[in-house]
Structure formats: C-alpha cells, structure tokens
Symmetry: C2
Subunit: 316 residues, 2 copies
Amino acid sequence: MITALTGGTGGAKFLQGLQEVASPGDLTAIVNTGDDLRWWGLHVSPDLDSVTYALAGMLSRDRGWGIEADTFQCLDLMRRLGAPSWFQLGDRDLATHLYRTELLTQGKSLAEATEQIARRLGVGACILPMTNDRVETRVLTTAGELSFQEYFVRERYQVPVQAVRFDRAAQASPAPGVVESILAARTILIAPSNPVTSIGPILAVPGVREALQNTRAPVVAVTPIIAGAAVSGPAAALMQANGLPVSIEGVARAYADFLDTLIVDECDTAYAANVERLGIRTRCAQILMTSTADKSSLASAVLQAADELRAVSASA
Amino acid sequence: MITALTGGTGGAKFLQGLQEVASPGDLTAIVNTGDDLRWWGLHVSPDLDSVTYALAGMLSRDRGWGIEADTFQCLDLMRRLGAPSWFQLGDRDLATHLYRTELLTQGKSLAEATEQIARRLGVGACILPMTNDRVETRVLTTAGELSFQEYFVRERYQVPVQAVRFDRAAQASPAPGVVESILAARTILIAPSNPVTSIGPILAVPGVREALQNTRAPVVAVTPIIAGAAVSGPAAALMQANGLPVSIEGVARAYADFLDTLIVDECDTAYAANVERLGIRTRCAQILMTSTADKSSLASAVLQAADELRAVSASA
C-alpha cells in the first residue's frame, strides 16, 4: 500500500505515473483542500479535482487543470451577466462542482463526495481530502490578505508575499482514513508539490505530522524545486516568505522531521550534501515530467528509493 | 403601457411579436413561476427564462426553450456522475441559473434577480415574476402527485391528470409592480398560454384576479386552443381535469370574470357564439405563430381589439 500526500498540478502528474507502475487499488492520495473555494455558489476543490481527473485520464494536458477538451460556454454567459470570471470553470468541470455541492448540501462529507465522484469517473485509487473541515490557506501580501486562489489565479502570484497561514487548521480533524493510511502504508510519498501551500496545509491538520513521524514506512519526497527554481507556480516566493531557501535544502527542511529520502534532479547533485547534512538521504532522478514515460520512470525511481530504505531498515 | 400575463412557450413567442409592434419600454410581462424547480441545487425558473431569452433574442427556435445553439457538455458529465438528467440544462443556460441562485442566496428577491438578468441580457421590457414567494403547481395524477416539471418533462404529460393545485398560493403576495401594472395599464393581454398551469398560478396569487376585475383597461386574451386541441403541451388534459371544455369556450370560462375580448383562430369562428354568450367579445386572427411576421400580425390584431374596446367604452 502506497500513501501519497499531494497538491494539484505536479502532484497530479506524479500520481499518474504511480498509477502506471503500481496497482491503482494499492494507491491512496491525501489531497490538499486549503485552496478550496466557493465560486458561483459552488464548492470547488481544485486539487481534489486535478487528482481525480488525472487518475480518471480526463485531466487537460494543455492547461494542467480542468478536463481535456472542455468548453467554456457557461463562463462566457456568466461574463455577460456580470458575474466574476477570473476563476474559470469549464462546462464539463461544472458538473463535478454542481454534483459535489449537492452531495454536501444533502449532508455528505467532502470525503464521501470525493469518493463517489472518483468512483463514478472510474478512478481505482483512493482519493482522500486532508480533512472534511474547512481549512483555508490565506496569503498575506503587500496588497492585503488573499485566499490562495485570489493570490494564485486572480493576481497571477505577482504580489509580494509576507506570510502564509492556514485558517481554522488547529480546529480541523484529518478526514477518516488519512492518519490510518499513513500509519498502515508500506510506502509514504510526498509528491513534487509546493511544500508551503500544497503539502503545508495537509501537515497543518492536527495528527498528520505526528503520523508521518510515527509511521514505520519509509517516507520519500520528490522536490518541486530544480536548480533553485520552482518547476511551476509560486513555490519560490512562498518558500522565501516562509523562511525556506529556494533549493532542495529548503524542501528537505520543510519535511526534516519525518523525511527519509529526497528525490532530487540530476542537475542538483552538487547540492545533495546540504540535504544529507540534515540526516536525509538523496537519490537522483529526472523530475520534469513531460511524457507518460517520464512520469512512470520518476514513479519507479521513487518506489525504488523506498525499497532501498526498507532494505537498510531490515538489515539494521 | 401594455401588461401581459404569460407562461413560457406560446407566451414567449407572443411577447416577441408584441415587442415588434410596441415599444419594449411600454411592455410589462407578468410571468408564471409555479413551474419553478430546484435542479442540481439551482433555482430554475423555466417560464421567466423563456420570456427573458425570447425578448433578448436568445431563445432556441428549434427547442422553444433554452438558448439558441446551446451545448450540453455539463449535462453529459452529470449523467456519467449519476445525477438526475431528465430535466436538461444547456451550458449557457446554466449561467442564468447559477447567477440567479447566487443573487437569491445573497438575499435578493426573485423579482430583483429577474430584473438584473434581463437588463444584463439587453431586454428592454419589464419582466416580473408573479410573486417573490414560492408557489408550486402540483399535478395530482393516477401515478401520484407530481411537480409540474415531473409531470410535463419527466412523464411527458402521458399520465392521466385528476386535479391541479397551487401549493402555498394563498399565502403568497404578488411581486412588487404586478398589481400596479395591471391597474395602471392601458391594455391588459393574456398570452396564448395554458389557462390552467401557465395563467392559472398567476391568477391564484391573492390580489391578481381582483386587479384584473377592477382595472379600467380592456382585457384581451389569445386562445391557446385551436379547433378543440392545444397548440402544444398538455393544456387539453389539464383543462379537462379542471372541468373546462377543451375549446375556445373553455378558455373564455377560465377568464370569464375579467375578460373583455377573446382572440380566436379563424377556424373557430363557428363556435364564437359560445363565447359571446358569456358576455365576452371575440375577434378572429391567425393564432399559430411560425414566422416573425405571424407573431407581429397576431400582436397587431390583439392591440387593435383593445383599441376597439376603448372606443366602445369612450362612446358609451
């Protein structure tokens, strides 16, 4: 059993690779919901959707979010009606949000809604929201405090960040199965997602960090930082705001209390010693995933690193 | 000032004709909301939408409902998710329901939401829901009591009808402007809509029938029944269930307490005496509207009948 903590974009691609090399039934994804928002009256869970669409083979390759070949007819009329339109929902994508919102209104939990949507779309893996509670990532910027999507999509992460906080995290509980799947897993993986606003909210839910520290499974992370820059998105600015160097060392520090091995890109081997100094092993792989083969080979490299850790632990 | 009471399909076409021959700014439509439903968590007002789309030049000509050339991508994924799909919402149409639902959630009234949507879509006429309250048309059938859309769309009006009632009508108030526009109008028109479930709910709102009885304006109705059959939809079965003959006489009886003139089709002139016996004048016109010219000429005939009534009244 493999349990992976993940955000949307990079994490979704990583999970596609894992699904190729491992049995989907053995895979549990614990997904960030700190980016969730109410949009047009609907409950939108961007990272849950990206992961679900990725594992259902529906994720748009061009955009990296939403559904492949989706149309935007509804958005077009919404604009004409004068509704806010900076966050874009495709017509097919809308069905997921309408359906989820209905299930939540009927009293189902976010985890139950997520499970039902994933099953209906043919996903074999188990997709868990980090919590059924509302935890909101808030980004304090020079332009005021913004929700994550306001910062990321509306402002295109061009406003300087001063701090990040996870509103109501202290009162949240992990969704059923989150802690259990960490404690029972054979392998724990941290996807190449933003450590601050993708993995950070998951770690902020009380009990998750402790489970990662206490699990007997090896914990392997894939860095989203290559050669001192983020593969995509605002990870660099957010790491800086959180006092982390924008480097593989910064990623390792974010996870230092539970991480066993960090997978780094070939071009960063010269800096591996900065990570190993923290008591964390490094292994090299090609992190950038452009083809299906890239995704599978990264997934294989990560699982191999976990096997190595188990072998070391068995011989110790 | 012209005030027209109307349902969706036939009424929407009739209003398009009126808008051609009268100034849109002089036109007020009082629209049935007894068919409104909650669908996919959204507040859907089928008749308000048909009238709005018709007056905005957006109504689908083929379907007679929804938006011209709309797509159904969202519906398609809704089906795959296992959501109910017998009531079909197009992708552009969805924007109207999302936007209306948001306005209602923010505390706006249905009338305010309707006005805002109509204005944004470029409608010059005033479109009023019959009430801001929830009045629901319930159709008692041999298969149990159904909402109007369950009877009309899901069952395709193939189940025998025993009775019709308007749930919560007694507690409803006319929307602001409804009674006022009837009392202040120069001409009152009743569109060629189903007298039982399109005009009936409007008349069931306390105060509306009284205003029609008390207004000094001539009241002219267009029959939706031609040669003993409905032009479209379930009007015949519903009139029978309400004890009304399926004929121009049945239409006249439904409005007998306030109607001055009934516009009947040329083919029904032989039965005009049955209407005139009720103290209601008849005038002949071509009721079936297939072209834009048909709509305009019916509208002209109706306005001319109103002019005649005013002339009679002035000379009396």
